[in-house]
Amino acid sequence: MTEPISKEALRTDEWTINMGPHHPSTHGVLRLELTTDGEIVSKARPSLGYLHRGLEKIGERVAWAQFMPFTDRLDYLAGMNCNCAYAWAVEKLAGIEIPERAEWIRVLVCELNRISSHLVAWGSFCADMGAFTPLLYGIREREWVNDLFEMVCGQRLTYNYARIGGVSHDLPPGFLEKTKEFCDYFEPLIDEYNRLITYNKILVHRLKNIGVISARDAIEWGLSGPNLRGSGFAYDIRRAEPYSVYPKLDFNVVVGHADRGTLGDCFDRYLVRIDEMRESVKIVRQVIDRIPDGPVMAKVPRVFKPPAGECYFRAESPRGETGFYLISDGGTNAYRLKIRTGSYMAMNIFEKISKGVMISDIVALIGSFDIILPETDR
C-alpha cells in the first residue's frame, strides 16, 4: 500500500471566486468573496448591501404610525414579529398602556409567525442540503398560517397588523377555532418532519461538526436567537427580559444539546428551530385557552407625538434579537430610528467560522444561520 499523500503536497494556488449576489442557496442577494484552495475555503468574506433600502432613513422621514408597513419589509418571513416589536418599542417610548386583549393577540400572531418562519427556514435549509421535498412540505403548512393571517388582517405576507396602541382589527369570528385546528394538525407533523429528514444519515453527516461556535464565542460576536441557543446557551429575550404577556406563559427555552456531533454545530442550530416550533405551538394553545375579552385598541391621538426621549426595546424574533433604538424629539416623526437585527450579527461571525471548511459547507453554514437579507441590509 502506498503512503497517503500529505495535505501539503495537495496544496494548490489560491483562487478567489464570487458566490452570489445571485445564487440560489444564499437566501437572497448575499455575496461572498471566497478565497479557496481547491475545495477548501481559506477565507469567506461576506459582502452585504445588495438589498440596502434605507429603512432607517425612511423611519426618520415618515410619521411614527406610517413606518409600520415598512417593518413588514424588514423581515418578510416574520412580519408580525417586526410589526409588534416596533409597536412595543414606540409604546415603551411614549408610555402607552395597551389593552390586555391586544397583548394576547400580538403574542398569538407572533408565535404563529415564528412557526411559519421556521418552516421556511427548515424547508429552504433542507433544499440547500439537497432534499427538495421538505421545502414543499414546509410551504404547505406555511400556507395554512398565511391563510389564517389573511383572515385576520387581509394580507398574506406584508401584514401591517399591529398599531401603536393595539392591533388594527379584533380577531375575526372562528379564528381561534381554526387556529386550534391548525395546532392539532401541525403538532404531529413535527414528528413526521423528524422521521422524514432530521435523522437522515446524509443530512446528519453534512451538518454535524460543521461550523462549531462555542457559547463564549457566540456571545462575544453578538449572536442571538436560535443561533446563540444552538451553542447551548439558554438566552431568550422572552425569558431574560420579559415583555408583553410572556411571563404569564409556560414554555421552555430550547437549547442545543449536541444530539449528533459537537455542541454548537449546524445540526444543533437546525434542531433548535425544529423544537422551537413545538414550543410555539404550546404557547399558541395557551393563548387560545386564556385570551381575555375586551377592546383591542388604546386611545391614541390621530396625530401621534410621543414625548422627547430615547428608548431601546428588544424583542425575540425568529432570527434573534430585533431591537429598535428610537429617539424622539417630540415631533410627528422619529429623530433617529436604528434597527438592530439578528441576521446582521450572524454575518459578523461568518468570516471567522468559515475558515477551513469545504465550499459545500458554506451553503450549510448560511442555511443554519437562517439569515434573511433585508434584515442584514435593511
Binding site: V29, G54, P69, Y76, I139, R140, R156, L157
Partner: protein, 199 residues
C-alpha cells in the same frame, strides 16, 4: 387531543372555500382601467400569425422556464407559488437556478443601485428569446421605497431594455403571478417571428 395525520380531512382548502371560477371572471378596477387607457391610445394592432409561427409560439409559451431570482419579499411568494398549492409548473414554468437556462426573468423583489448592474448582467446572460415580468410594486415603480429611499432603483424598466408584463401588488398573490404568466403567454402567441426585418 391531537388527531393523527391519518384522520385528517383533505387539506386542499384549509381556511377558505375553493369554488369553480365563474364563466366570466368579474372585472376589477384595474382591468376596467386598461380598457380605458387602450381606448385612448387607439388599441393594439392585429397581427396575423402564420402556422409556423403558431407552432413556435406554442412551444415557447409552454416552456417558460423562469430564473429563480428572488431578492426580497416577493421571493417568498415565488417560493410559495412554485410549491404545491399554486404550482407554476402547471403552466410549463419551471424554476432554473442559472440564467443560461432561463427564458423568463421574474424580478421578484427590490432592486437597489448596488444590485442594478448584476441584474443587467443576469439579463444579458439569458438566451434569446427572453421575457421580463416585473413583479410587485418595488420593481414596477420603486413601490414603498419610491419616495424616501436613496438606494432603490425606481422601476426595473430603467435598467432593462424591455419589460413585457407588469404584475402589481405588494407582493402579488400567487394567483396574480399565474395571471401574469398567462398574460405573457397570450403575448407570446401574438408574436410574429418570420417576415420581420432584422434590425
Amino acid at each position: 387531543m391531537s388527531q393523527g395525520p391519518a384522520k385528517r380531512k383533505p387539506i386542499k382548502s384549509n381556511i377558505f372555500d375553493v369554488v369553480p371560477a365563474p364563466a366570466e371572471i368579474p372585472q376589477n378596477v384595474l382591468q376596467k382601467n386598461f380598457e380605458r387607457v387602450r381606448a385612448c391610445k387607439g388599441g393594439e394592432g392585429i397581427i396575423e400569425v402564420g402556422i409556423a409561427d403558431l407552432f413556435i409560439n406554442w412551444c415557447r409559451k409552454n416552456s417558460l422556464w423562469y430564473l429563480y431570482y428572488a431578492t426580497a419579499c416577493c421571493g417568498i411568494e415565488l417560493m410559495q407559488g412554485g410549491a404545491s398549492k399554486y404550482d407554476f409548473d402547471r403552466f410549463g414554468a419551471v424554476f432554473r437556478a442559472t440564467p443560461r437556462q432561463a427564458d423568463m426573468l421574474m424580478t421578484a423583489g427590490t432592486i437597489t443601485h448596488k444590485m442594478a448592474e448584476r441584474v443587467q448582467r443576469i439579463y444579458a446572460q439569458m438566451p434569446e428569446p427572453k421575457y421580463v415580468i416585473a413583479i410587485g410594486a418595488c420593481t414596477i415603480t420603486g413601490g414603498p421605497f419610491y419616495k424616501d429611499s436613496y438606494s432603490v432603483v425606481k422601476g426595473v424598466d430603467l435598467i432593462l431594455p424591455k419589460v413585457d408584463v407588469y404584475v402589481p401588488g405588494c407582493p402579488p398573490r400567487p394567483e396574480a403571478w399565474i395571471e401574469g404568466i398567462r398574460n405573457l403567454q397570450n403575448l407570446i402567441m401574438k408574436t410574429k417571428n418570420y417576415g420581420l426585418k432584422k434590425a
